[in-house]
Amino acid sequence: MTQSLLHQILDYANRADPYPLYEELRKTPVHHDEGGPYVIGTYYEIRSLLHDPRISSDASNLASTAGDPLAESSQGDSALPPSFLRLDPPEHDRLRRMTNRPFGPPHSPHRVDGMRPELHEIVTGLIDGIGDTDRIDLVEAVSYPFPVTVICRLLGVPREDEARFHSWADTIAASLDPDPDADPAERGKVAHDARMQLGMYLAGLIEERRKNPGDDMLSELATAKGPDGAMTTMELLSTAALLLIAGHETTVNLVTNGMLTLLRHPDVLRRLRAEPRLAVPLVEELLRYEPPVQLVPQRTTLADIEVHGVTIPKGASLWLVLASGNRDPKRFENPDRFDPDRRDNQHLGLGSGIHSCFGAPLARLEAQTALAELARRLENPRLLEDPPPYRQNAVLRGPRHLPIACDGIRP
């Protein structure tokens, strides 16, 4: 029997290149297998659903989770209450707004930009430490430790604790993945435990920050007294966990996918070395071409809604395949071409609507900094394995390792 399209997309065998499957997906505006989620892969439909107030992010609005390969990972029995990622307005808006106060404009317009020198210094340090250039795992050497160090500094998590929550974050992120071979009950328990431990760790940290606040985000969140009042401790915990995990699992892939793409397009890599400012449009194109978040599987309908003549019933599970929308030829000319000079590049790589990526300004700056520096300093870099080994995860897609070699490291 041939596998359903959705199973093929989730199948690890297709992880390295899911794009032909997405092309297939776009042929049906609303893809639906009996009992499964409703899957959307075309640009305009995804974008309008992301702005559609009849679409909810709150799992409790799902009519049934039967047949949904991601259902086990929903936060129903989690140790922490849902983060704002899994909430609807008004709760979503309130929590996101409070979280934003110490992070971005209007109250903290310089937080991200002010980290520029620090980001640069962290990347420089990591590249300096590469050592043997015959075989570098770029993930281990740069693209993983970089965003992790950054999110730790931003939140005020001691660097020495990083190893501990690395494993929790990994487990939680893995639970987002619909691995068909894993035992769902076992997976749920492992994720639950990881959340629990992460929660306890963060609770201790927050307690400490309340007593001795620093100028990190966690301190500001813990002591905030804005017009919305203060977050409850539980809200603060899930918010902190969200930032920590998102900070771990997405930028890593953005940088890794970025380097992989550049190595496959040496002309662009050369250009980037000569003009580092190319990093800005290049990262935008990367977010279109190889987005770290491939699909948003956590939406449901609050009413029967019609998409392209198909009625999606109330309470259905809805998957929006951002990476497929990003390659929709109805929206982007030559969508399979990596073109950093592309104009009007309104990709879906960071989502859209009220849940559009909270950390976007930081993620962009991190990727721009890392890629420009790597391009400048690695001498004659080349891929050792193409495709490289990928992570299991189909939602947060990226190489687990990126083995490369180069002739040396420029000063």
């Binding site: 309008s48 107030p53 009849r54 679409i55 909810s56 307005p89 609050l302 609507g353």
Partner: protein
């Protein structure tokens, strides 16, 4: 010469003149070059400045975050034009295809784009308007003068008119800690553009932020002291407010006087044009060589019953300019209609306000998401059983959805469940717009009547 041959010639060596060197003028010029226009391009503007952006003038600049001279519009590309700045156009000879300038020059054209916008309506009593301390806010120079005065720390700022600009000025002043009184003839701020239901929220916002808001009153006189400085405003309810700065925000007047007698269909309501931005002459015949864009234009819109709309919206100026530029260089079959769905934003008292469609055409409103009390909501306007407009207060990311409802003439009130839809959000209320015969301050959309071509057509949004 006609047909493609003459178009080819126009593109290669024709002369295009743009009157009004601001947002619409600049974007049109850039689009002409982008589309391959290689002929001569002249931009005529009565202000001495290169094109600059106006929205920041009532926001960032008054807040002291930037200065009026740092609002230059970013350039999309080089336009390689002859700039005639600081010289108003004073007349148009349609037969000879020439624009007359105040300095006596005449500039010939093969295609003309008129983008002269609007100007602030001044305080009607001339002597009072000339008092030191009385301002309007439309241009960079207006703004620089007002910003200077605000920086001196006046005792009180008195704003006449609580439309968008007046409200933004009041907001900026409060944020700087200046005492502000706002006088509004209507029942609440923004009532002309958004109606009384939403106006009440705007009133709340103003009062919460310490504005001394006086609605339902008219300013009867401004009083100066012996040195010619303004010192008080007198109101129709008998009150007197002592003040040393007055900002007159009574809406705008269209810059069309220079076209009087030219034979072009231009008047106090703007310049009528077709959906392709081609101007009408006074006989209602469409011209083929004169185009209009931006605040000064009034054009029929299929989504709104072919009513002629005049929009004082930034996005409209950009889009209409691009369409006009495209059509100037195109054969009739390739011309595009300007079917931009009206959209407008404002920011005041820490709230981001956005609208789509034409709220002021609505008769009813439902609060479809959020709540009026929390000052975070989407209000949907209904007109004859369909959705005609929507406004959001701090809820802008949902607006594309409502735009789609407007574009597809969806039924009003929207019948479905939505996130954050409260129980009382299912009940339509009277949107409570003021009687149109009572003048209000600067509506940003002016409905200026039906065209003879009023017939139904299915509107399919561009995609």
């Amino acid at each position: 010469m006609n047909g493609d041959g003459s178009l080819e010639w126009l593109r290669r060596e024709g002369r295009i003149v743009v009157v009004g060197a601001s947002l619409a003028g600049l974007r049109a010029a850039e689009t002409l070059r982008e589309k391959g226009f290689a002929g001569s391009l002249t931009l005529i503007g009565d202000e001495p400045h290169a094109p600059y952006d106006r929205p920041p003038l009532s926001k960032q600049v008054l807040l002291g975050m930037t200065t009026a001279d740092r609002t230059a519009l970013p350039r999309r590309r080089d336009v390689d034009a002859t700039w005639r700045l600081g010289v108003p156009a004073t007349g148009l000879d349609m037969a000879a295809r020439r624009v007359r300038l105040a300095d006596g020059d005449e500039v010939p054209y093969d295609r003309l784009l008129i983008a002269t916008g609007v100007r602030a309506r001044p305080w009607p009593h001339e002597r009072e308007a000339e008092l030191d301390g009385v301002f309007v806010l439309r241009t960079r120079d207006d703004c620089a003068a007002l910003a200077r005065r605000l920086a001196e720390g006046p005792k009180r700022v008195f704003v006449i008119g609580a439309g968008f600009t007046g409200s933004e000025i009041a907001s900026a002043c409060r944020e700087r800690g200046l005492p502000v009184t706002v006088a509004e003839r209507g029942a609440s701020p923004l009532v002309g553009a958004l109606g009384g239901v939403v106006g009440a929220v705007a009133a709340d916002l103003q009062q919460e932020h310490g504005v001394d808001l006086r609605c339902g009153v008219m300013v009867t006189a401004l009083e100066g002291d012996a040195t010619g400085r303004v010192r008080a405003a007198h109101l129709s309810d008998g009150a007197t407010v002592e003040t040393d700065v007055v900002v007159v925000s009574l809406g705008a007047t269209r810059n069309t006087e220079w076209l009087a007698g030219s034979g072009l269909g231009a008047g106090p309501r703007g310049i009528a044009c077709d959906a392709g931005c081609r101007a009408f002459d006074i006989r209602g015949i469409v011209t083929d060589d004169i185009y209009v864009a931006g605040d000064v234009a009034r054009s029929p819109h299929p989504l709104f019953g072919y009513q002629f709309l005049s929009l004082e919206h930034w996005g409209n100026a950009v889009c209409q300019a691009e369409i006009a530029a495209h059509n100037m260089l195109s054969a009739s079959a390739d011309r595009l209609p300007h079917m931009w769905v009206p959209a407008f934003w404002s920011s005041q008292f820490g709230v981001n306000i956005k609208s789509v469609g034409v709220p002021s055409m609505g008769t009813e409103i439902v609060v479809s998401q959020g709540s009026l009390d929390s000052h975070r909501f989407v209000g949907v306007y209904g007109y004859q059983g369909r959705v005609i407009g929507a406004v959001s207060f701090d809820h802008a990311r949902w607006l594309p959805f409502y735009q789609e409802l407007i574009e597809t003439t969806a039924p009003f009130p929207p019948p479905f469940h939505m996130v954050d839809r409260r129980p009382d959000g299912h009940r339509p209320l009277d949107a409570d717009f003021p009687d149109p015969s009572v003048p209000t301050h600067g509506p940003t959309v002016t409905l200026s009547g039906y065209s003879p071509a009023d017939r139904r057509m299915r509107f399919t949004p561009a995609r």
